[in-house]
């Protein structure tokens, strides 16, 4: 334990001591300005170290020792044409530091670590064409819909990287896709957005053995590890054909006059494929007179074609409802009906079959600043799954995708976020609390300190509580303390 804590302190100390020496003159920023004297080219970036230690084993295990380099460049050809790229490279040295993984090959380590997959290192790369009434963004990008924080209701355009579960911001874990994004101005504050998405990527999940391997992944690995079971997996991903193209439409408006002035709302439609594949299993048992039965399982992972229909709103109560009642609160919400999805049913960790399912998900949020500088945000989220096909509901329930545990008809989630700042916004403590029914928790306090214009250090905790069948409880043993040091230029 001492060795790991010592290592973590040394890493943080080294980066901080370097910071005091080099930060004052912004050497990297000035160097870039000097060697790249293109007036219309702007380059910024950061280096970041992320270190995490597992708390539950007495801090006896590194969960992350990641070094990240991120560079963003924007070139302005004209007032109406720009090109933007973000390159993000990283290496997680956890398995090098932890001797227990020394027998793994580089390829095996690569699979276990949160390494860049395929062209994931190209975080974004797109062309922007601006006209007075139409903006076109063509290339690899993220598009975010909805108003909810930390839970995806309408935010279904891009898949997610779950290799660190959901402890990172979605902005860092959303997987960008190649697409055309057109946003036209129909009214002064009313815009119609059209998305044409020929690209497809599934969500990324940590493999079994990784700190944040989902319970469903671990269960799958356990069953296929049996010497009497042979599993063949068929991945049915949408082929790159015109008819498989995904597309989306969003109408967004801000009401400018009347009692609803300032109300922002959207109506959304997305024709897409589920980024989490549905599992269809076909099992054959071959009895042998000479030994135990041989079981062959054909597992088909299918990305279902789904339709998402929904909307969102956000309104600040700028005039009290009665007197000053409610003044200063921002109310926001969103709703999504996910049509034609599929879910497994069965018992805990055991899949019996797959049925078509419609989902009705919604969220209501309230935000306000108290005592001048305490930001408060509360959200209530309800996820409703309704099977469209019959199955034996006396013996089985729908199964929750990430854990393969029983899914309630109504899953309720409450979130609360508190943040404030001191020392002229240099010291920023905050805490995020996520509670789902079935007594499942995640509590994530953290504090950031802005050393100077370039250096930022952060320390915090992620505490998971609950039963393994549930969202955060599956990582009950994965409480972690983390440190981040970032130099940006």
């Amino acid at each position: 334990m001492k060795r790991r804590i010592f290592l973590a302190i040394v890493i943080a100390g080294c980066t901080l001591s370097v910071s005091s020496g080099v930060a004052a003159d912004e050497p990297i920023g000035k160097f870039v300005d000097k060697v790249l004297p293109f007036e219309n080219l702007e380059i910024v970036g950061y280096f970041r170290n992320e270190t995490a230690l597992k708390v539950s084993n007495g801090m006896d295990e590194f969960m992350k020792e990641k070094n990240i380099m991120d560079i963003k460049a924007n070139y302005r050809f004209t007032d109406w044409l720009e090109a933007f790229t973000e390159i993000k490279l990283w290496y997680d040295a956890t398995y090098d530091i932890e001797g227990r993984y020394k027998d793994l090959t580089y390829k095996e380590k690569n699979q276990k670590l949160t390494m860049p997959i395929k062209t994931e290192w190209i975080r974004e790369a797109y062309l922007d064409i601006y006209t007075p009434n139409l903006d076109i963004r063509a290339g690899k990008q993220q598009v975010v819909w909805g108003t909810t924080d930390g839970v995806r209701i309408l935010d279904m355009v891009n898949p997610l990287d779950y290799r660190e579960w959901t402890i990172k911001d979605y902005s860092e874990t959303r997987i960008p896709l190649w697409m055309f994004n057109l946003e036209g101005q129909v009214m002064m504050n009313g815009h119609l957005q059209v998305l044409i998405i020929p690209d497809y990527e599934p969500n990324y999940y940590a493999p079994a053995g990784s700190p944040f391997a989902l319970r469903t992944v671990v269960a799958g690995a356990e069953s296929s590890a049996s010497p009497f079971v042979t599993v063949t997996t068929i991945d049915e991903r949408p082929e790159r054909k015109f008819e498989n193209m995904k597309y989306g439409l969003r109408w967004r408006n801000v009401v400018e006059s009347g009692v609803l002035s300032g109300l922002q709302y959207s109506i959304n439609y997305l024709h897409t494929y589920d980024f989490a594949s549905s599992a269809y299993t076909k099992t054959n048992v071959l009895f042998s007179p000479f030994g135990p039965p041989q079981i062959t399982v054909q597992l088909t992972r299918r990305a279902e074609q789904i339709e998402v229909i929904g909307g969102s709103f956000a309104k600040t109560i700028t005039e009290g409802i009665v007197g000053s009642l409610g003044k200063g609160w921002t109310v926001r919400g969103e709703f999504a009906h996910i049509h034609n999805g599929a879910m497994n049913y069965g018992t805990d960790k055991s899949i019996e079959g797959t049925v078509d399912v419609d989902q009705y998900n919604y969220a209501i949020g309230l935000d306000k600043t108290f005592f001048s500088k305490l930001d408060f945000s509360f959200q209530f989220i309800q996820l409703i799954a309704s099977a469209k096909e019959d199955y034996d509901e006396t013996d089985y329930t729908l199964l929750f995708g990430p854990t393969r545990g029983p899914l309630d008809n109504y899953e309720n989630i409450l979130t609360m976020f508190l943040a404030t700042d001191f020392m002229h916004e240099r010291l920023k403590p905050q805490v995020l609390i996520i509670y789902t029914d079935d007594n499942d928790w995640r509590i994530s306090p953290k504090v950031s300190f802005e050393v100077n214009d370039n250096w930022m250090v952060t320390a915090g905790l992620h505490i998971f509580e609950g039963h393994p069948q549930h969202l955060n409880g599956q990582f009950d043993k994965n409480d972690q303390i983390f440190f981040e040091t970032q130099y940006s230029w």
Binding site: Q185, Q264, T316, E319, E450
Partner: protein, 295 residues
């Protein structure tokens, strides 16, 4: 019938009061004159502070320095744009601030709509490029620090004429202010109105302030803030200059130095390359444009 008359009288009185508070026309420049009341002078000061004399305003280069007593300095750079709607749809003006430095907050953009109705809070949208999301946020509390500076939100953008009562203390000559950032003595010997302003809110972060309004252009050049014990705890100096472009001649704020006398921390703001009436398109003040801000 009698009650109807009383109701009409009340409505007429309210209308009169409301008109009194908004008696200055948009897109017109006013300067104070001898014999004006404290209210009339402060109306002009607010009119100038928010540049309601112009159709639009852009400030492509604003520097903010946060300086602690040891001299340790942090810097923020920003662009600012404003379009004066002049009461159309009950909106006074729309404001857009885009942070360009440091990298940690580069691209952060804040869109604000300010309404005519003095009892109505601003509507505010925040674009955080890292999150790729426009957030509707509540207007900051007036006494919150503006972007972590020594200036409060209301001192920068939300304080209105109706938020205080005014008394003309005297007419006096300004002794000058030594701008700590440059050591330069500024506005020495300028004739001013000295006005005492008392907030209408109870238990506010200041009990009163004295405002030195320049007689020449009607802008507030120096403010001293006092707590309920009568102790001075903060000063704000605002440097002004004349913006000229052809026939246009507008007073414009070029620098601010705000000192917290309790902590000795200070904030210095420089506004460079300001422009007025360049025909800013209102489409710049929409959510679509917020999203153009990258990084």
């Amino acid at each position: 019938m009698k009650s109807l008359k009383i109701l009409m009288l009340i409505l007429a009185s309210l209308l009169f009061l409301y008109q009194d508070a908004e008696s200055l026309d948009y897109y017109k420049l006013y300067t104070p004159a001898g014999g004006m009341t404290a209210d009339e002078i402060m109306e002009i000061a607010y009119h100038n502070k928010y540049s309601l004399f112009a159709q639009d305003y852009d400030l492509p280069d604003s520097e903010v320095f946060y300086i602690d007593p040891s001299g340790f300095t942090r810097t923020k750079l920003a662009e600012r744009y404003r379009i004066v709607k002049g009461g159309e749809d009950n909106i006074k003006y729309k404001d857009l601030v885009v942070v360009t430095h440091p990298t940690q907050v580069k691209g952060l953009a804040i869109l604000t709509w300010t309404y005519e109705n003095p009892n109505k809070d601003q509507d505010v949208w925040l674009w955080i490029p890292a999150l790729k999301k426009v957030r509707k946020i509540s207007a900051s509390e007036g006494d919150d620090a503006f972007m972590g500076s020594d200036l409060t939100v209301e001192e920068v953008s939300t304080r209105r004429f109706e938020d205080e009562t005014y008394k003309l203390l005297r007419e006096d000559t300004f002794a000058g202010y030594r701008f700590e950032q440059t050591g330069e003595m500024m506005f020495e010997g300028r004739p001013c109105f000295v006005i005492e302003a008392i907030p209408t809110k109870d238990h506010w972060y200041y009990a009163k302030r004295t405002v030195w309004v320049d007689k020449g252009f009607g802008g507030s050049i120096f403010e001293e803030y006092f707590d309920k014990n009568g102790d001075k705890f903060k000063t704000i100096f605002r440097g002004w200059d004349w913006y000229t472009d052809g026939a246009l001649r507008y007073p414009t704020q070029t620098a601010i130095e705000c000192k917290d006398l309790r902590t000795q921390h200070r904030t210095v703001v420089y506004n460079r390359q300001q422009n007025y009436d360049k025909g800013l398109d209102e489409r710049k003040f929409t959510l679509r444009m917020l999203q153009r801000s990258k990084w």
